[in-house]
Amino acid sequence: MSFLSYLITGISLGSIYAIIALGYTMVYGIAKMLNFAHGDVIMVGAYVCFFAMAGLSGQMEAGSLAAAVVPQVAGVLLAMVVCTILGVVIEGLAYKPLRQAPSLAVLITAIGVSWFLQNAAQLLWGAAPKNFTSIVSGAVSLADGTLNISYVTMLTVVTCLVIMVGLTTFIGKGKMGKAMRACSEDKAAAQLMGINVNATISVTFAIGSALAAVAGVLMCSAYPTLMPTTGALPGIKAFTAAVFGGIGSIPGAFLGGLLLGIIETFTKAYISTDLSDAIVFLVLIVVLLVKPSGLLGRFVPEKV
């Protein structure tokens, strides 16, 4: 029974990594840059949702149906809008001028943006952690309470699947998706074909950042401590998950995230809590040695 309960913990942790990894991998796949600020956009999204929910729930009649639904939905939507704008602004100001620069310059800029966001968040909202109210509370209890699956976990897995299918469809079909694939393959050639590369990349960032907002809200619903550095470590872990699954591959990000969470939890449970991170990264190294493109890296014809 404890095996099952560890598995559920692993899936719950992994689904959080997966949802962050989806945004990472999509931006990488199309813009061909590692947006290290992704984790911090997540943090901003969670803060926006936190304040929106706190502000709105005060206005609602306590205990009514509206009070249980409206602040949460409004919080998530507002977080998505704010993060979308933030993502486009970051892309326009920090990354667009570096379009022709070596990729190392862009990478360092991304780290700079990440630090800027963390410190700006600390100035605006303070260093003390906030207690994030989960957007859905409660859990399904099985086998006399020894197995608990929280609704947040279910919601996260479902959201992951929806986003995964949605993104794959969006990129595989439709005009914008085609433009994205073209940019991913060869920016210069795409431009010659009349594709507005800058606009396409901006849209990519807009979508990636909106996904970051959703990830931030779900992450803080599962692990409710919210502070300016909340996004940093999960961001790195999710990046690892994206590489694990094959960076650029959307189903790969989902699979990589889930596996990373499960391996981490099982290592803690059955091998050592001290060595869990070391073993997770060891597995990553072995996978990359055997399959340098990541788990699903090769099987996806278009890397987007």
């Binding site: 719950s12 326009g92 100035l123 003390a128 608990n148 692990y223 401590t225 550095t229 803690k268």
Partner: protein, 407 residues
Amino acid sequence: MKKFLAMLMAAAMVFGAAACSSGNNTGNNGGNAGNDGGSGDAGNDGAIVIRIGGIGPRTGDTAMYGLATERGAQIAVDEINALGGDIQLEYRFEDDTGVAETAVSAYNTLKDWDVDVIYGCTTTAPCVSVAAETYADRYFQLTPSASSTDVTADKDNVFQMCFTDPGQGVTAADYVAENGLATKVGVIYNNGDAYSTGIAQGFIAHAPEVGLEVVTEQTFPDDSNTDFTVQLTACRDAGAELVFMPIYYTPAALILNQAKNQLNYSPLFFGGDGMDGILGVVDESLAKGLMLLTPFNASSTEEATANFVAKYEADYGETPNQFAADGYDCVYAIYQALQQIDNLAEIAAMDPAERHTALCDALVSVFTSPDFSFSGITGSGMTWGTNGEVTKDPMVVVVEGGAYVTQ
């Protein structure tokens, strides 16, 4: 569209810069006042001016602790200067971001400012590095909250306002045993952190001597870890009636949450002084019954404490935690010791390069003298040994109705 974005960002930057500079001003009030000749503009022209340089994290993961120590001390400095006595303090606080290397640069900045006394650091690792420097350079150093024995070991000039880590573990084990809280104990600690490991090891080593059985020892690698269900499941399966968690309150908040919501596991939780602050981050129902060792209770009705809490809340809009209280006490302890130095005027007249050495020797002899005892808001009748460790009575509080109740 481009122009609009540029303007938006420019506005954001101006706003950010404004926020930055206002933050710095609060920290540097004392420093600015003193740079024009050190005449002490608080109203007393003949006053001796002593420069206190603080070090702690203002940014980064541990910023909430560093800011608390900075602000607690600021309140004490303001109060002392407002008294208009013969000793006036100048205060400046430098950011170490919680990193040892940065702390040493912060210390060098303070040296360039001709600092007299070092107040800090907030966290252990930076404090160990700075203590090695102050020992070599001969500066008196008093830390509010760096609790490892490494901070003070073999250094005559470094003193602590907080309990040492192993000492706190032993005290906790004694308390659990004496009050019959439990016999089977699980321990969860952060093995990436010297503070947490120090307390846990002190506790684990002492537990068998007082009849406690440590049924499981669980660790996690650092404070950014988010999932503790594995550790909690191990405690539950080992039958722990009490879970001792000498960790900071951010991971503790997650542990309390996951124990209740994911595992239905409700042992007695017992924490160290790093747990102070938990009330701000968990719901009342989760924190209920949590016990912790802390030298400071913000809901105390004692006059000095209530006074401090009111000022802190008015200035910074939040309830002070134990770190702020330690900082407040540090400044008052230094002030009290300064008053007991006979030749302070003579020392103050010296060249800055010699002044800090003379002051260091004088303060060390006052702090270690048997008749020096300090009473503040984190304890009364505190004394210091030659090893720099403080002796004061521990206090255990339990969370009830969203506030600490002293046991």
